[in-house]
């Protein structure tokens, strides 16, 4: 990287907020995924004005810019695939305003998801999107990837809870879109920007909606002897038009791994469990829970447990939300997928995943948001063996292809990133992708924002000048 760029960055950000030594950059070449890409310089802005100056500088020198929050993402979204400047938002982590009367808050992008809830829960509110990484991941990353989570089944995903944004365009122009109300006149640019994976603008402020904590909550754990019985239950709950707040599936293998850490009382001898939660008014919760228990029993649930208090409920959720990480206990690395399928296709798809695992010789754990058909097969592999890594990626590709064949999608909530960009043509026609590229071109004409993401390689119009492949130092870990 041009030393002048680094010097200029240091001049207005201070030396403490600019990293360019090799050993420091190595700390930003990974995230929660299995991808690796090293930036050329890392900067830590504190204000929107800082971001504007960084972007202007990048624009002048035609250097790529990528944003990063906590780096917990699972699709490589926060990795500088083509080098350049990585903007880390960990120091822009202030809650600017909490407006309980109007059920809203304004936060900087580096605020940790769970910290929003922690700041308002005493007053009876919470921030609904609850990705499993919520104790560390940042709101900026949630916005970029349009993050989901177990409770999105009832409450919706990030885009349903973000009403306004302040963003910096590649030109350095600051734009405010949306506002504090659910709808604003003109194009829904907030909707366009949420989930754009940092390829249209850099988010510097987020206006979120706060949700009233439900009057009552009931958490059920349905235990099954076969995977099919569990997935049939999900299909029937949907068919009966019951919408639980969350409906999570864990197979026997996964819950044995999880139980070793969380000690929540997950049954070690079962083939699968469903973790189902209903919330709302006390009366409706009782009625819904009763009906769900009926459905579970009809589908041969061995037992349906009801969490007796908040502590037991928290433990069950702790197990679910930390499930990916817990896999580290049994395998040095894993590759987690994010496919979506119609709920009616669950039983057949799980059988297919099992067959793919056998074909490639991998253990594949299944844990997913059953309620909305968002699968997360986890392929275990040892990264020291490059052959295993390649087979894991091939197996994953086959699973994704199957999801599309049955009418689903390659990502439910983790984003396309660079992990799945090559799979996009499986889902979209040339014309579809062309339309998306034209949108990108309108806001990010030079292709400097997060290049190498979403679109298959070679698709980006402004990317010819940047390096063809990520600069990586290590084998993936």
């Amino acid at each position: 990287m041009d030393p002048n760029i680094i010097r200029e960055l240091q001049e207005f950000l201070g030396k403490q907020s600019v990293l360019s030594a090799r050993e420091d950059l190595m700390m930003y070449e990974y995230d929660g995924s299995i991808e690796v890409a090293r930036p050329d310089v890392v900067v830590f802005p504190r204000t929107t004005q800082d971001v504007v100056r960084i972007v202007q500088l990048a624009n002048r020198h035609q250097v790529p810019i990528t944003g990063r929050g906590a780096g917990t993402g699972l699709s490589g979204g926060a990795l500088a695939r083509q080098g350049g400047i990585l903007i880390v938002f960990s120091r822009m982590n202030k809650i600017i305003e909490i407006d309980l009367d109007n059920q809203g808050a304004v936060v900087q992008p580096g605020v940790v998801n769970l910290d929003i809830t922690r700041a308002v829960e005493q007053a009876g509110y919470f921030f609904a999107p609850d990705p499993s990484s919520q104790k560390s991941c940042t709101i900026g990353g949630n916005v970029a990837e349009n993050a989901g989570g177990p409770h999105t089944l009832l409450y919706g995903i990030t885009t349903n809870h973000v009403t306004g944004l302040e963003v910096v365009l590649p030109s350095g122009e600051v734009l405010r879109v949306g506002g504090k109300t659910m709808d604003t006149p003109g194009y829904d640019l907030t909707g366009l920007l949420v989930g754009s994976e940092g390829t249209l603008a850099i988010v510097t402020e987020v206006t979120v909606k706060l949700t009233r904590l439900p009057e009552a909550t009931k958490t059920l754990l349905a235990i099954y002897e076969t995977v099919d019985d569990a997935t049939e239950t999900v299909a029937e709950i949907t068919a009966r038009a019951i919408t639980p707040a969350a409906c999570e599936f864990m197979d026997g293998w996964t819950l044995r791994v999880v139980e070793a850490w969380v000690h929540a009382g997950y049954p070690l001898d079962s083939a699968a469990v469903l973790l189902i939660e209903v919330d709302g008014l006390r009366e409706s919760v009782e009625a819904q829970a009763a009906e769900i228990i009926d459905v579970c029993k009809l589908n041969h649930a061995r037992e349906v447990r009801v969490a007796k208090d908040a502590k037991e409920r928290d433990l069950l959720w702790k197990g679910r939300k930390n499930a990916f990480g817990a896999v580290g206990r049994v395998s040095p690395s894993y590759y987690v997928q994010d496919g979506v399928i119609p709920r009616t296709k669950l039983p057949a798809t799980l059988r297919k995943i099992d067959a793919i695992g056998k074909k490639y010789g991998f253990e594949i754990g299944n844990i997913f948001h059953a309620g909305d058909g968002n699968l997360h097969p986890i392929i275990l592999f040892d990264p020291r063996d490059h052959g295993q890594y390649e087979r894991a990626v091939a197996a994953a590709g086959e699973i994704m292809a199957h999801c599309i064949v049955v009418g689903g999608s390659i990502t439910g909530e983790h984003g396309v990133g660079f992990e799945k960009s090559e799979l996009m043509p499986l889902m979209f026609t040339e014309a579809d992708l062309e339309a998306m590229l034209r949108v990108r071109h309108a806001m990010n004409p030079a292709g400097l924002l997060n290049p190498g993401k979403i679109f298959p390689f070679g698709k980006g119009c402004g990317e010819v000048r940047v390096k063809p492949f990520p600069v990586t130092s290590s084998t993936p870990l």
Binding site: E23, M26, G328
Partner: protein, 435 residues
């Protein structure tokens, strides 16, 4: 964008005392630890987060990163509070990793002359030797009591030397030392319910004599015969955390002898930091070593005083004490030993006491052994946030479970004018003993 492939090959970790692949490969870099790490929250830098530090260990081990100043700085800055272990779903034993890494740094990284002399003096010549501690304490007492300390403070000499904050953190030397109690047995009051050995600590014997005495009073009042075995030495925690593993191992050998001479129902300590290391003595030895089975036997007996009393159940009658208190989890109790309920149970057992939970009560207070002396600026920033949350509880008393935390929080209360008293759980219990 230019990546030179001509990086210097470095040798990585050497010898036996090093982190192993099996230990750090458990980290799946999910990042769930980040927001639980005090230094990551302070600076927002990956290199100062648990995930980043593990990544650096791995890169050093693979010869891709030099075991140089940058690496050492990030490892030095770790509090070893182990909050990341609580957050980690994958079961990474981070404390073990960082302790092994520091052992590598100790062996391979040349520190400056002053730093080397200070480390040697402290870890090798002071802590393991009660006589040195006794002498150093007497000299410090002269400084503190003669008016010299007041003089130094008044004239601003300390400020000039940049030592004023450190001086505030320095414990006041006791009027009488606990050394005289070694070898004694304190009979149980009423029917004997248990016979325990008391671990008295090292510096604590000249700075926390009253806490040790209170611990014995509370134990005996609850039907325990308390033996203070002679020949016991420092637990080795501070040396271990600094990477001076040979000293820690030697101290462990000594203590295994001292405490396994007789049979006890339990070995009890009032210092969570010591207790955590004492319970982990097996990690200092290889499975084939003669000491290994002893360390396992010792581990099975080792109890934090709050853990032991909560299990045993309080038998002594307690006076009513109408008081609002808050509890600061000591890191090596909550994260190191996974004990959270026991101290709270004991606090709530005191009639009249109302326990108000503090926001982020299991975040480190910044004491972290001698971290507040070696990394004073960071420690003070962490303490500032802690005192803000402590004050928000409006509790006039902060209760905690480790001498280091007591010192730090007392300094914090004075610096930030919170007017809060800071007590160990057993000091609170001692105050309410009816007799």
């Amino acid at each position: 964008m230019t990546e030179t492939r001509t990086q210097k090959q470095v040798k990585g970790f050497v010898g036996d005392d090093k982190p192993s692949w099996d230990d750090y490969a458990r980290c799946v870099h999910c990042g769930l630890c980040l927001n639980h790490c005090p230094t990551y929250r302070l600076w927002g830098m990956e290199a100062d987060s648990p995930r980043g530090r593990i990544r650096q260990m791995l890169l050093v081990d693979r010869g891709e990163l030099e075991l140089g100043d940058g690496f050492v700085t990030h490892i030095d800055r770790c509090l070893d509070c182990r909050a990341c272990e609580t957050a980690c779903p994958s079961g990474v034993e981070y404390g073990k990793l960082v302790e092994f890494t520091r052992a590598q740094i100790e062996q391979q990284h040349p520190r400056g002359l002053f730093s080397r002399l200070a480390r040697d003096a402290f870890f090798r010549y002071l802590l393991p030797h009660p006589r040195s501690i006794d002498l150093a304490a007497r000299l410090t007492k002269i400084y503190q009591r003669s008016g010299l300390a007041a003089f130094a403070r008044a004239t601003g000499i300390l400020k000039l030397l940049g030592l004023d904050e450190r001086e505030r953190l320095m414990p006041r030397i006791d009027d009488r030392f606990f050394f005289s109690e070694l070898g004694k047995t304190f009979p149980a009051q009423g029917p004997r319910r248990a016979r325990v050995a008391f671990f008295a600590g090292c510096i604590a014997q000249v700075t926390f004599t009253k806490l040790n005495e209170a611990t014995i009073r509370v134990l005996t009042a609850n039907g325990c015969e308390v033996v203070v075995p002679d020949g016991q030495l420092c637990c080795g925690a501070l040396a271990l955390h600094a990477g001076v593993r040979d000293v820690a191992r030697e101290l462990a050998r000594n203590n295994l002898e001292a405490f396994l001479r007789e049979s006890f129902d339990a070995v009890v300590t009032n210092a969570a930091g010591c207790g955590s290391t004492l319970k982990e003595y097996p990690q200092l030895f290889q499975e084939g070593d003669a000491e290994y089975p002893k360390a396992i036997a010792f581990q099975a007996k080792m109890r934090d005083v709050t853990e032991f009393l909560a299990d045993l159940g309080l038998a002594a009658p307690l006076k009513e004490l109408p008081l609002r208190v808050t509890y600061q989890d000591s890191c090596h109790l909550a994260h190191g030993q996974r004990i959270r309920e026991a101290p709270r149970k004991l606090i709530c057992a005191v009639p009249g006491v109302e326990l108000v939970e503090m926001f982020r009560s299991d975040d480190c207070c910044g004491s972290a052994g001698i971290y507040n002396v070696t990394e004073t600026a960071a420690s003070m920033e962490i303490l500032e946030e802690k005192m803000r949350y402590a004050m928000a509880t409006k509790a006039p008393v902060i209760v905690t479970a480790n001498p280091g935390c007591l010192l730090q929080l007392r300094a914090g209360a004075a610096m930030h004018g919170t007017k809060q008293e800071v007590l160990h759980v057993v000091e609170l219990l001692d105050r309410t003993l009816a007799s």
